[in-house]
Amino acid sequence: MTPSLLEARNVRKHFPVTKGLILGGNVGWVRAVDDVSFRIDAGETLGLVGESGCGKSTTARLVLLLEQPSDGQILYEGVNLKEMSGDDLRRYRGTVQAVFQDPQSSLNPRMRVGGIVGEPLEVNGGFPRGEVRERVAEVLHNVNLDPAFATLYPHEFSGGQRQRIALARALVTHSRLIVLDEPVASLDASIRSQIINLLKDLQDEHGLSYLLITHDLAVSRHLSHRVAVMYLGRIVEEGTADTLYAEPLHPYTKALIAAALPVRAGTPDDTVVAGEVPNPMNPPSGCRFHPRCPLAMARCAEEEPVLQEVAPERRVACHLF
């Protein structure tokens, strides 16, 4: 079997929580990512969904090498990132790029668009100036921007255009995997759909893989091939986008979907899940969702359910299955 483009195996990221700035006594750990496994194949989009603070962005930062895992492994084409040589790592950083939520703050305001988009090429070295300029023009064209925009500054663009610039920058190194962390959250409805269509087109044309992080389930449904639902640092359900959204199994997935569905005026809204996400420093015993779960049983407070395959391509961590 050929290895996946990217695979995470039992990855953990625990942040120490310290009390007081100077003495710095460690008072505990935030288990931001806690034993998470997933794979992303070439040309595929894995959607990561869940409430704020559940560990989505930390997962993304681990993939982008902005954090090191406390435990577990991340493999690129079967090779553990930890064991990669300097050259391989540089290649990895070139082919794995990111686009974040707020195009305003992720683009350097003092650089021209051409410089911003071309920067990853210069960082990775070895490109003559003329070639950089050509490649920048090409990727600007790919994201439906006029290559003449290269001489302008980011503030001269609208939110949607700035997000296209960020995408062009992510594409410039012939990337294979782009981490999209809330890529359309700050955009208006009409602009959002333009960017979603563009993301689909770019994937089809260049065989890109996406790790798509969003709290907007509708966006996730439309762009993802497979979806992993996270809760308090754990994946609680995973499946193809079509089956998972059409027939959610985990009570948490059900609650998330119910909250996102439009409620027609006049109909009672009985789908609201109670309570909030507990403090990740001190997650509930047993199933971490049990204090909010409408179906919790006695066993749920004591025994943690494991993520197991309940159907082909479908994994769920819940005692009901």
Binding site: E51, S52, S158, G159, G160, D188, A189, S190, I191, R192, S193, Q194, I196, N197, K200, H215, D216, L217, A218, V219, R221, H222, D242, Y245, A255, L256, I257, A258, A259, A260, L261, P262, V263, R264, A265, D269, T271, V272, V273, A274, E276, V277
Partner: protein, 344 residues
């Protein structure tokens, strides 16, 4: 000019031909340009539109909080129980803000001051408007906090905002807004920074409070999903003007304006999947450089010549549904100035 509104209930708040302009060195920005609507007793009206279309400026104008000196209300009326707020003295206006009409701002989490206790902040409007005697403030605040479902409120009065979660802080902001017993609550995108599950909880709470205290709500949002949960009627804004008014049911079932239609289609939905989104090409115009005629014409797939010359008249379709679009004008040529008429 015809008013767009056709409110079923006695209007509590009536906005008539409101105009708020910005005077900058790039020219005049018509942020709010002839906006009319009315809000009935315990009704909730949604103001829907994309960023920059003038929703916040409309609500700030109602409370006369338009940023100065660049911004100015240049025309129209804001009638609250028949009294024009635009003609009140600043002192009289202070009695209206918070007491009669309260507002929850966009980004409410930053509305709470980190150095004051939760109890003090909720009590502030009670003190300003001397709603209850000093000795009763504490009890009233605890009651307000329990109204917004803060568990054990008595014990949380001395807590600071950072000790509350995002969802709880949101509810505290809500408690502060309603503490002086206003008749109208203006909520400007109050849930955008919250998770969907917390949004759903908050909107349900807002609905309950509305029922219990007979509040009228002006709910400002660009999000159709939250709108459906809270509003009875909707006014759709584009480039400083209201282009359509209708009930929430009609919004989802028979939108009449091409912009409303496009907005509905371009929203990704959970319950069905399409291969490509119908997307509206281009972006909303800058209010400093509005095209003549219908401002949506440059993006409208059904624009005709007349659209680029003349702003369309408001047409009543049926009860409570009105639209400003040439496609629906009863007799387009009535409103066209002589000399510019042209048969298609």
């Amino acid at each position: 000019m015809d008013t767009l509104a056709n409110a079923p209930r006695a209007p509590l708040l009536e906005v008539k031909d409101l105009r708020t302009y910005f005077f900058t060195r790039w020219g005049t920005g018509k942020a709010v340009d002839g906006v009319s609507f009315s809000l009935g007793e315990s009704e909730s009206l949604g103001l829907l539109g994309e960023s920059g279309c003038g929703k916040s400026m409309t609500s700030l104008s109602i409370l006369r909080l338009v940023p100065r000196p660049a911004g100015r209300i240049v025309g129209g009326q804001v009638l609250f129980r028949g009294r024009d707020l635009l003609r009140l003295s600043e002192e009289e206006m202070r009695q209206v803000r918070g007491r009669q009409i309260a507002m929850i701002l966009q980004d409410p989490l930053s509305t709470l001051n980190p150095v004051f206790t939760i109890g003090d902040q909720v009590a502030e409007p009670l003190r300003v408007h001397r709603i209850v005697p000093r000795s009763g403030v504490r009890e009233r605040v605890a009651k307000l906090l329990s109204l917004v479902r803060i568990p054990a409120p008595e014990s949380r009065l001395k807590d600071y905002p950072h000790q509350f979660s995002g969802g709880m802080r949101q509810r505290v902001v809500g408690a502060t807004a309603i503490s002086a017993g206003p008749k109208v609550l203006i909520a400007d995108e109050p849930t955008t920074s919250l998770d969907v599950t917390i949004q759903a909880q908050y909107l349900r709470l807002l609905k309950e409070i509305q029922r219990e205290s007979n509040l009228s709500i002006l709910y400002i949002t660009h999000d159709l999903g939250t709108l459906a949960r809270i509003c009875d009627r909707v006014a759709v804004m584009y480039a400083g003007k209201i282009v359509e008014q209708l009930t929430v049911e009609a919004l989802f079932e028979r939108p009449a304006h091409p912009y409303t239609e496009a907005l509905l289609q371009s929203v990704p939905r959970m319950d069905r999947k399409v291969h490509r989104f119908p997307s509206i090409e281009g972006s909303p115009p800058l209010v400093h450089a509005l095209p003549p005629g219908c401002a949506f014409a440059p993006r409208c797939p059904r624009a005709q010549d007349i659209c680029r010359r003349e702003f369309p008249p408001v047409t009543k379709l049926d009860d409570g549904h009105s639209v400003a679009c040439w496609l629906h004008a009863k007799d387009p040529h009535d409103s066209v100035p002589a000399g510019s008429q042209e048969r298609p």
